[in-house]
Amino acid sequence: MKILVISNLYPPDFLGGYEMGCRQVVQALRTAGHEVVVLTSVPRSGPVPAESGTLRRLRLIDVYDSFSEWKAVPAAKAVHSQEACGIHAYNVHALLDVVQEFQPDVAYVWNVISLGGLGLLAALQHVGVPWVMHLMDRVPAILCAVSLNGGTIAPLAATFKKLCRGRFICCSQLTLQEIYDSGVDIFDRTRVLPNWVTTTPALRTEYRVEGHLRILFAGSMAAFKGVGILIEAAALLRDRGQTDFTVDIYGFGEDYEFRSLIQKLQIQDHVCLRGSRTQAELDRLYKHYDLFGFPTWAREPMAFAPLEAAAHGCVPILSSVCGNSEWFVDGVDCLKADRTPEAFAEVIERVHGGEVSLAEIGPRGAKVIRRDFHLSVLLPKIEAELRAAIREGGGPVRSADEAYRMALIAEKSLACLIHETAA
């Protein structure tokens, strides 16, 4: 297959697992013999090495930066959001150029927020390219809200549903439900496939070396990921007299909030912020830890890090309701707890007290990951979705010039409308 992958960011420029996952699938598809071209944005922070098959030609309208989020005046923010989620003619032009050059059989769309996602999808449909969108966030809902945090615009969502000819792969039922609850119904066009790991480490048998319980967290240093909850759980454990444990927190992002929490709770002896690590570095670290604490929020689509940790036999303790939880069974191949410090402390205490056997859960989890969650197992299912999209076809093929002209008109009209409304 000739596959055109579209993603707002592509490593080494990335925000989180979504982009990392994209690269892993691209590599796997290439290894499987497909011709894959990646179309992404120019890197945000300095040049990156040129890579064959990766075209950094799109313009990123960054809505993830704090300036856009908190400082921009409402009208400027509205225009910015419209270009990011709605239509950005420049990116439509760049996409149509690549489609003409590469002539893909199918477009494999990832996160298209910040690229004028609706415009890109409409352009693909206009020139008759079938597409499959891989969802690891509520992308269609955000596109139909035309802003990162606003509510979905009902007529836009209804039009999206009516005109959409693409297919979707979604990493969890929870994310799919969230998209539906936002007013964008894509149930009938979606296949739920979990996220994956790409490594196959040796099975481990040894846990709690010298009786010491080692817990880690890896991910972005954000309150919604539950870093604070883990720190508070550690303080509760210490207060209950448990001392033979450590919590190491690896992550990128600002950590001053958590530094101050550690100081406030006087838990420096047990909790350590260890800074950012690459995926490869984390892969080497997981085997030295017994538990992966993951008190993430209920909106978590499905994080990669707990899967990778579980592949190494490091037992994940997950929030009882999150995307990861719907793929793993409590007490069988993972542990689950309510998203509170007390509940997490209780589960860790049970492990500490020997009530829960990590030597049983860890290897079982690792085997399940290897069997059901390895990319090599999931890739044929992804390929099947891409083939199904090709079979369905992308609809009538119309002129690329026409698509670009329409994008220009739409972009300018919407900008005028926003300015007039603001005035």
């Binding site: 309701v321 939880s325 719907e326 069974v329 689950k336």
Partner: protein, 139 residues
Amino acid sequence: MEFEFYNVEPSGGLMSRMLRPFRRLLRRIQRPYFQRLRDLLQTLYGQQTAQAQRQNDFATQLKTVEDHYMARIEQLEKTIAHLHGVVGTVQNEKAFFQTDYLAVTRRLARLEDLLIEVLVNTPVVPEQHPGPSLAKIAS
């Protein structure tokens, strides 16, 4: 309460003493009206006092009722808060079981697929295992 205002005899000077017989005469003539007025004033005073008493009693009763209902409201608020807590716990438990249930069913489906795959790839002698073909089940 004294209402016989007409019995008041001012202690005055010479002029007052000279007028006293006339005043007495006038008072004597008007006595029936004054006495009627006195009776009316006494009745009104009595009614007013009784009314004030009733009002006071009513206010006391009202306060008692108010206190009773405030206590009831407080109790109901506590009950509602408790029920909210219970509902929250039940919802959490429900969400937990739904999520875990989904995980279990997915795992079961996956194991079923794998089992069928293994069975299909295992040579089966038809005479020993009557029943529908496994290839058919797999398809």
